[in-house]
Symmetry: C2
Amino acid sequence: MGKKVAVLAVNPVNGAGLFQYLEAFYENGIQYKTYAVSETSEIKTNSGISIKLDDVITNLKGHEDEYDALVFGCGDAIPKYNENAEKQFNQDMLAVIKAFADKDKIMIGHCAAAMFFDNLGIVDGRKVALHPYAKTAVKGCIGTDEKTVVDGNFYTAQTENTIPELIPEILKALK
Amino acid sequence: MGKKVAVLAVNPVNGAGLFQYLEAFYENGIQYKTYAVSETSEIKTNSGISIKLDDVITNLKGHEDEYDALVFGCGDAIPKYNENAEKQFNQDMLAVIKAFADKDKIMIGHCAAAMFFDNLGIVDGRKVALHPYAKTAVKGCIGTDEKTVVDGNFYTAQTENTIPELIPEILKALK
């Protein structure tokens, strides 16, 4: 049986990033379920389109073993993250990311993904690709200027625009 | 005042293609309105996510003058197009594309977009980028193996994966 991916999307999410992963999974027969980092499963893209995901992040807690990989779908929610850091859905997001990493799942993400991985102390010593703004914020991992980096079970892309180069690596890992 | 774009999305639509345009427009302050080629404004991506667009294609008919450009958002609806060619929303789509072209608007699309442009006789003699499967189907235009082609007011990309190379050209035209 093929591997299964939990795809997290913040609210609002960058639709170009999110759907590059989803369409690639769909076209390659990789199972996935989408989780909104929000109180409801209906969220928006940065570009203002309402999208209805499969479930909310809270319902992923405790179900990490059902998946082989996690995708962090970044978006315009992140520059405002600090205003909402205490919200339950963001706390649940951190708990879920940590649980996936502790179970050595495949960890995938672009833009600020590596910053969250770093804050959680799950990517220490590894190289990552990440948004130039986030590069100054990481401490335990090695922030690079690469478009994409694969280091161990961590698959990171600098921004949504560099995801195309990461997709073949992700597909290799998930097949 | 900046230019305004009507974005058509077939049902189902390739989300990676659609949102590469939308997020680029959003980030560059270009106005856009999204139209579902469907009876309702809620459609699905190839990858199975419900998305709610601004309006339906029928309501764009007769309003072409309000826009400077048209995007054709391709998707898995197209391989099944012939089964649904007689449906009103598909007839309306063709009428709208023709009207935009007749008014010399900027015409943008990937994958099968150039095939529809060709069938409507609006791109005769021009070079286009298009899906390899569609290349054999075009008659009046010059189907190429290029990743992207700009010829006059026609901006075409081979598939959703080559849209990143077309975006800078589109933005130049729309600013």
